[in-house]
Structure formats: structure tokens, C-alpha cells
Symmetry: C2
Subunit: 341 residues, 2 copies
DNA sequence: CTGAAAGCGCTTACAG
DNA sequence: CTGAAAGCGCTTACAG
């Protein structure tokens, strides 16, 4: 469309210096004279020069690009995480290549391969499944990598995760105090560390607080809303249905909510509902939803911080962020008919 | 960390061919023998070779990367759009570099500069404001660009937009039929084409259906939720407050909802509420929200389709997608006290 | 502080 | 169908 794009040679020629000097000025190398700096700056402005990032990366083996691999951008938790990480990266001069695995391992592999080919400076990943081949390829090449939200067994990279246990324990205690004995749990996929950890925490807390440990009360979803609907449907159809539901992420909670509404159950009265992940509008529902909340902003920032340390060759400690129960009306008020004093 | 990364020379050596032949095999050039193809493929597999995308791009002036510039990833509309566009691009072998302008022009400029330096093959943008300098730089370089959702006056690039007018007209007619005369409108920023178009449509429809044209009934928000809260607060504080509210996007509708709930107003009875943009959980609220819906999936796919045509040197026609009203309980039922037969 | 030269890892006419 | 050679646009020792 336009002519051949302008290069550092054009800038150098216009400034009356060598390409080497122009390059030094552009990269902020202190070994330049004030005069050169001024002349090069003027030439850059006049020509509207944008250095070719490919050529720069090829020579310097730095791209200033990081890869961010997420499970599902449409999940508000990950959208917030993407926003937080991307803003934190931008503040460090890094741009973010976003890969959306769509909760699919082949698609995760595809993006990881792309990250390798693009020679990203580092990768922040919320990984699926157990070490896919591409994840191993990434690490074998020594590409700085950190995990966020999720981890993978047997892969030792720094991570930022949520301590789901505290929040889940609070939620179970809360339900037990309200007199619930049969609590249905809509679990995440057991191929993710968060899916496994949260189920473990729930089971342990259920036992500790004297809730039923009937295995039929656990339904295995996939962190997407349709499985939340199906889970609620299934659990309510049990011979002995639960009096409360806990969903392991927000899309599944939304799905469960839809099912409860469709069945005409009054949430907070006929049945209690608690969601893992706080979302702005959960507090706007009628009744507002009781949630287990954690700090997504902090998670995104911490992930970028860890990645920068790994890029610098350090071996930072993993970060674990807290979770906590926020009680709202969806978990109901004490109901004497449930046998509570 | 690991040794020097392996290159096409290593592959060629192991396969017993020249780098040129290896390159031809890798790029699918038909001028290769079956034997070469087989030997190179084996070497690639054995060495786990990933071609350096920087070097390839430098030489071939194709990066297979597109830039996607959005206003705000946390807005569910844009999250869905990002998902749709990214999946469509991936199906065409293109990876997506995501830039989140965060409804800020300087940040938009920063990402556009990055896209230029990264020599992306094309850009899909939901632009802010009137042609920022970087937007012009992009176009002057002849970088293929399409607009999605929004356009910029005086910049003639193909676009995919929503015909907001039909949906807004249906919404206003619906409210008029229910007997509403004073409808508060929470507008988007007038620096965006969608903000302007929707306000124009609302004003015209209000006049056509005999609603009040009191300018005090329009509040100017910024498409983010806090301004929806503020807008509802302001409109309800008028000497003659509106009996219905229409918000120009979903985050502002969420904000308005929060304000209405806080004030103890019963939505669908004390006041009607309609949102532009359909979001899964809007139908799950109590009462479910009446919305103006449009097809985000189709928008993302169409944007990628247009961009591919522009990259191919064609000049495709812009695409306009329809919008339509979906009536739910939040807009209420006819109320005789409002003077409707 | 500066410039000439080499080279990052590919691809692509060119000649065979 | 194949290979030798040049070159994409930068950066970086090296020598001065």
C-alpha cells in the first residue's frame, strides 16, 4: 500500500550518524552524545519511525512479549485476571499475547506452540490437565513460566494460587450452623488443581462439621455454566436431595441458579446456594449470593511480579492468596425446621 | 538455561538436505520430493523444532499475528467478542495479540504503537474517540484494519457494527405502550460511535412515540458500571423522575440495577429497566431483565472475515448486524395507574 | 562516544 | 526438485 517501510538506516542517514549510533540512541544506551541523541530523536519524529520488533527480537533474543494462557476468557474470573495481568505487564513495558485454551487441551497446546515460536520472554499459564506435551516443551526450552490460579502436579514452577481451603471451610461451617446436613457440591474438573483442591477441602470440612458424606452429593462439572445447570438438576433429583448447594466456580453457580429458578425454588428459603468466586453482580441478585471471595487483581499483579523474577534468573517463592466467605441472603437464615436451636 | 536453540540448519543437517529444502518442506512448498518431505518431517520431530517466528516474519513480511484492540475486556460484551474473534482467527491460522485500551485513549495509542512495531498482519479495533494519532499512523502505513462494534468519523475502513436503531426503537415503543412517558436514558460516551448512535436512536424514537423529550432525562455515562449507578441516582433525584430507565450497555445497566436495589425500588413494578446487550445472567435476575440483544459471535466472526479480505487486498463492504428487543419482566406489565387503557 | 562489520534464523529469487 | 547466496532490519562486540 505505502512504500517500503522506513528503517533505522533511514533514520541514521537523516540524522547524519551511523545505524549503530542510531540504534544506541533508540535503546537508551548511555554511550551516546547529547548531540546524537537530539539528532536521532528529531529524525525518528520526522519519519514517524517504529523499530521493527521482529528484527530487534531476532538479534537481541528479547521480545518484550509475554504469553498469557487462560482457560476461558468468558469466565468473569479469567476476564478480570487477564485485565489485571495485562495492565501489570504493560506497566513493565511488556505486551501480552493472549491465548484462550477454551478449557481444551489441544487448544492449549496450540497456543503454547505459538508462544514458543513467537519466542515470548515468558509465559503465565492457568494450565489444563496434567502436563501436556507442549507444557513440557516450554519448560525444556527454559522459557520462564509461572502458573496462575492452577498448578500441575510434578511441574515445579512458581505459582500464584488461592488458598481455597479457608473460604470453603468457612462456607461449610456457615451451612452447618444454619442446620444443613446434606450439602450438594458441584465440583470442578478433577483434571485441574483447583477442581481437586476445592473438592478435597469441601470433603474434609463436611466431615469436620458433621455434614453427610454421601458421595452422591458430589456432582462433577467442568467449570462451565451448562454443567452447573446439569449438576443442580441431578442433585435435586436425588432420593434425598440436598438442602444447600455449593458450586466450585461462578459460571457453574450461574447454571445452578438458572435451574433452581426454573424449578421455582426460592433461593435462601427452599434451598441455599453459595458460589466460589465473587462477581460484581452476584450481590445484585435477589437474593444476593453468598460467595467465597478472593482477590483477582492481586493474583494478576503477583503473577507478573513472579514472572519478572523468573526472567531475571531468580527462583521466587510461590504466592498463596487467601479466600474468605462473604455471607449474603442466598444461604438463608437459621430455619428451625432444619433442626437448629 | 538450555543450550542454543535449534535452527533450521540443524534440521537440514539431520535430514541430509539444504536449509532451503528444509524451509520449503516446512512452508508446504510443493516443489519438494516425497523423500525430502519425509526426512525433514522426521528431523523436525526428533529435534522438536519450532521455527523462529521472528526470523520468518523478518524475511517474509508476514507474521500471522493480528492485533485485537478492545475497550474493556471486563465488559462481558467485549469478553465474548474477544472469544469469538480469537477463535475465528485461530481457525484461519492467525494468533491474536490482545490490547485492552481500558476506555483510555493513551492506552489505546500505546497498544496501536505496539501492533505497528510487532508488524501485525492486521488489526481489529473497537476504537475510542476521534482518530487518535496512532490510528492514523496505522492507516498511513497501510496496515489492514477493520473496526468492530464502533467506527470513527472520517476514517473509511470496513466495519462490523450493530444496527442499534431497530432494537432501541422496539424498546421505546414497548415502554410507550406500557404507558411510560418519562424514560431516563443512561447514554454511552459521546466520543464513541455507539454512544452517539444509540442516543440519537433513543431521541428519535422518544419523539416518534410521544415520550417526553426533556433533556434532563439523559445522563451521560462512560459505559462502565459506576456511571450507571451514578446515572440512576441522578435521574431518580429529578423533580420529575422517570418511570423507566434504558441503559446503553450492560455494565451501566448493572450499575443502575445496584442503585435501584439500594433504593428499595421494585424493578418491573416501581420502575422499568431495560439494558442494551444481552448477558446470560440478565435472564436469571429477579425479575429477569428486558434487553436489546445482538449477536456477538457473529460480530467476531464477521470482523475476522472482513480483515482477511482486507489483507488479501480487497475492499469489502461493511457489515451491519441487527438488534432486537427481548421482553422480560423488568420492563413491567401494563399498569392502569400510568394512564394506559 | 562512534562506525564498520558480522550475524540473529529464516525465505526466496536464481541457476541448475 | 534442489542448493548456494543474498538479504530482511536490527544489535553488538570490536577497534578506535
Amino acid at each position: 500500500m505505502t512504500g517500503p517501510s522506513i528503517t533505522i538506516k533511514d533514520v541514521a542517514a537523516l540524522a547524519g550518524v551511523s545505524p549503530a549510533t542510531a540504534s544506541r540512541v533508540l535503546s537508551g544506551n548511555p554511550a551516546t552524545s547529547a548531540e546524537s541523541r537530539q539528532r536521532v530523536a528529531a529524525a525518528v519524529a520526522q519519519l514517524d519511525f517504529h523499530p521493527n520488533a521482529q528484527a530487534r527480537a531476532l538479534r537481541s533474543t528479547k521480545t518484550n512479549v509475554i504469553g498469557l494462557l487462560l482457560s476461558d476468557v468468558r469466565n468473569p474470573f479469567f476476564a478480570d485476571l487477564a485485565h489485571a495481568a495485562e495492565q501489570a505487564a504493560l506497566a513493565e513495558g511488556l505486551v501480552t499475547l493472549l491465548g484462550n485454551a477454551n478449557e481444551s487441551i489441544p487448544q492449549q497446546d496450540r497456543y503454547l506452540e505459538t508462544f514458543i515460536s513467537q519466542r515470548v520472554d515468558g509465559v503465565i499459564a492457568a494450565p489444563q490437565g496434567e502436563g501436556s506435551s507442549s507444557l513440557h516443551a516450554l519448560l525444556e526450552r527454559g522459557i520462564p513460566t509461572v502458573f496462575v490460579d492452577r498448578t500441575v502436579n510434578g511441574i515445579d514452577v512458581p505459582s500464584v494460587t488461592t488458598d481455597s481451603d479457608s473460604g470453603i471451610r468457612q462456607a461449610v461451617e456457615h451451612l452447618a450452623r444454619l442446620g444443613h446436613e446434606r450439602v450438594g457440591y458441584i465440583a470442578g474438573p478433577q483434571t485441574t488443581s483447583t477442581g481437586r483442591d476445592r473438592l478435597k477441602s469441601f470433603s474434609r470440612a463436611a466431615r469436620d462439621f458433621g455434614l453427610s458424606s454421601d458421595p452422591a452429593l458430589t456432582y462433577f462439572g467442568d467449570f462451565q455454566s451448562a454443567s452447573g445447570s446439569a449438576g443442580a438438576h441431578h442433585l435435586l433429583g436425588l432420593a434425598q436431595p440436598p438442602t444447600a448447594l455449593l458450586a466450585a466456580d461462578s459460571p457453574m453457580a450461574v447454571g445452578a441458579l438458572a435451574t433452581l429458578n426454573r424449578k421455582g425454588l426460592r433461593i435462601g428459603r427452599d434451598i441455599a446456594l453459595i458460589a466460589f468466586d465473587d462477581i460484581e453482580w452476584f450481590s445484585l441478585l435477589d437474593p444476593p449470593l453468598t460467595v467465597i471471595s478472593h482477590d483477582v487483581e492481586a493474583m494478576g499483579r503477583a503473577a507478573v511480579g513472579l514472572l519478572l523474577e523468573v526472567i531475571d534468573g531468580r527462583k521466587p517463592e510461590s504466592v498463596v492468596l487467601p479466600s474468605e466467605l462473604i455471607v449474603r441472603a442466598s444461604s438463608g437464615t437459621p430455619d428451625p425446621s432444619l433442626g437448629q436451636p
